[in-house]
Amino acid sequence: MAYTIEVEGLTRSFGGTSVLGGIDLRVAGGTVAALLGPNGAGKTTTVKILSTLLRPDAGRVRVAGYDVVASPKEVRRRISLTGQHATVDEVLTGRENLVMMGRLRHLITAVARDRAQRLLERFDLVEAADRRVSTYSGGMARRLDIALGLVDDPLVLFLDEPTTGLDPRSRRDVWDTVAELAASGVTVLLTTQYLEEADRLADSISVLADGRIAASGTADSLKALVGGETVELVLPDAAALAAASALLPGAREEDLSLHVLTDGTATGVREVLEVVAGVPVLRVAVHRPTLDDVFLQLTEVSA
């Protein structure tokens, strides 16, 4: 299988502090991969190295068939990076931003204008095209930001936390956009700290914790790692929570509820309930583990 992104043994440190401690990552062409992790896990550093902005200390990184250290120019011709903060030019209009990006990608002006118009239509920005970006909503600016990345039909698109700071509606817009991009055959690597986002958008997910890949696979395979079902016990107060928690070591507390992993069988669930028989439990729910469960388990193990 041909991989569009291949990373082997990637390390990087800043001033003696290791940020990436040996990352391996492979993304197949035309798929969406998510790099999932909390703040400070090394997501942005990874994206910066893959997009030639930072040099790796060690390891091999190939993007779109070229080594990022040996042939950064070839890589840059084939990728596009949408950074963590919207890097649209607020003083210019949406159209001017797109035309400028096309010109900087060395399209002749007429072609750059034509591309700009098509992208404005595709991203539903025609009405706002000739207004300054400073008048745009957060979601519109993000859509423009992503459109800027598509001016020259990149093979690989890097999206660094594309929905951070957006309201739920704008987030949904961006999700639709990414899904559409994936359908058009672009390889997308996105970083996120939202588990739901990775679950929804990505074909493959790599969980990044403390500069290492703690686990990778599809959303389902990651969930399977954790086990069968989660029993959620909702408790009336902190004292009851403490009592239940003491009886069930390894369970995860969240507000006033306790999440206990079981094998999902009736026997397994009954066992849990018998253990906490002496504690007042308000409500019991059984559900498939969420990525939250996966994430917390993996990061606890590595911590």
């Binding site: 800043f14 910066k48 997009s51 030639t52 902005l53 930072l54 040099r55 120019k73 840059r76 011709r77 990728i79 596009s80 990076l81 950074g83 963590q84 903060h85 890097t87 030019d89 003083v91 210019l92 001017e96 400028m100 990006m101 010109r103 900087l104 990608r105 060395h106 399209l107 002749i108 072609v111 300054r132 800027l148 020259d152 039909d153």
Partner: protein, 259 residues
């Protein structure tokens, strides 16, 4: 990815980014206007408020002070490059440009050239107002061209140094501080009063600091007087500072942007 759509070359990149910087200048018109209004106010203060006390008849003092005000205007206006460059750095614009097949420093060149264009315009306005107030330059066409050349070199030099400063400091506020230094430096020169009238310590600095030969050369050229060595001294100082700024900005750009 078809080849025929391509136009090659780093000059195109600089041109596109220059267009961007100029659009910024035109649309942030308040900043551009304040870069013109401040030197005009200073001109008025010196001519109408201090001018009488300086015991020079108004036209003569006006003639003396205009070159200093022009240089102050150019210095102050050019220093705003530090803020523009710093904003691009902190807002991620430079990161994005670096992920393109574009010469990274093209964005710096765009800012510097835009700064020169902007300041040539604002300097022309200041000279125009001075003429309206009674300033009567007697320069030849060649003299005017030499003034333009000297001032453009000075603006490019200050802009390049400002670009380097903008890359060095961490915030736009800090980058803005450079304007204040450049706003006060011209006072300790031959721009507003002759250095001989200053205390000995300041006199030495004022007579030899890099702004003085520039102001002297501009004054001599505008009034059709012999320029002497000040012209070459000004070229040497500001050409040198410009080179230093370009090298420094290039170095800092690679270091800061490269991480």
């Amino acid at each position: 990815m078809t080849a025929y759509t391509r136009t090659p070359g780093p000059l195109v990149d600089v041109g596109v980014l220059l267009g961007r910087s100029l659009r910024h200048s035109v649309r942030s018109i308040d900043a551009t206007i304040s870069a013109i209004v401040l030197p005009l106010l200073i001109l008025m203060v010196f001519v109408f408020i201090f001018g009488g006390a300086l015991e020079a008849g108004t036209p003569e003092y006006l003639t003396y002070v205009v070159p200093g005000v022009v240089v102050l205007c150019a210095a102050f206006g050019s220093s705003s490059t530090a803020v523009s460059v710093n904003q691009d750095m902190t807002a991620g614009v430079i990161d994005r440009l670096r992920s393109l097949p574009v010469v990274g420093t093209a964005v710096l060149a765009g800012h510097v050239v835009a700064s020169v264009v902007r300041n040539v315009v604002s300097t022309a306005v200041v000279v125009g107002v001075a003429v309206a107030l009674g300033f009567r330059p007697t320069a030849s066409v060649g003299g005017w061209l030499a003034v333009l050349g000297l001032l453009a070199l000075f603006m490019a030099g200050v802009s390049a140094l400002s670009a380097a400063f903008g890359l060095l400091v961490s915030s736009a506020e800090a980058a803005g501080a450079l304007s204040f230094v450049l706003l006060f430096l011209p006072y300790v020169s031959s721009g507003f009063v002759p250095p001989e009238t200053m205390p000995a310590v300041l006199h030495g600095f004022a007579a030899h600091q890099p702004l003085t030969p520039l102001i002297e050369a501009v004054r001599a050229l505008l009034l059709g007087l012999p320029v002497g060595s000040s012209g070459w001294l000004a070229v040497a100082w500001w050409g040198g500072f410009g080179l230093l700024g370009v090298l420094g900005a290039g170095f800092l750009f690679r270091r800061r942007a490269g991480g």
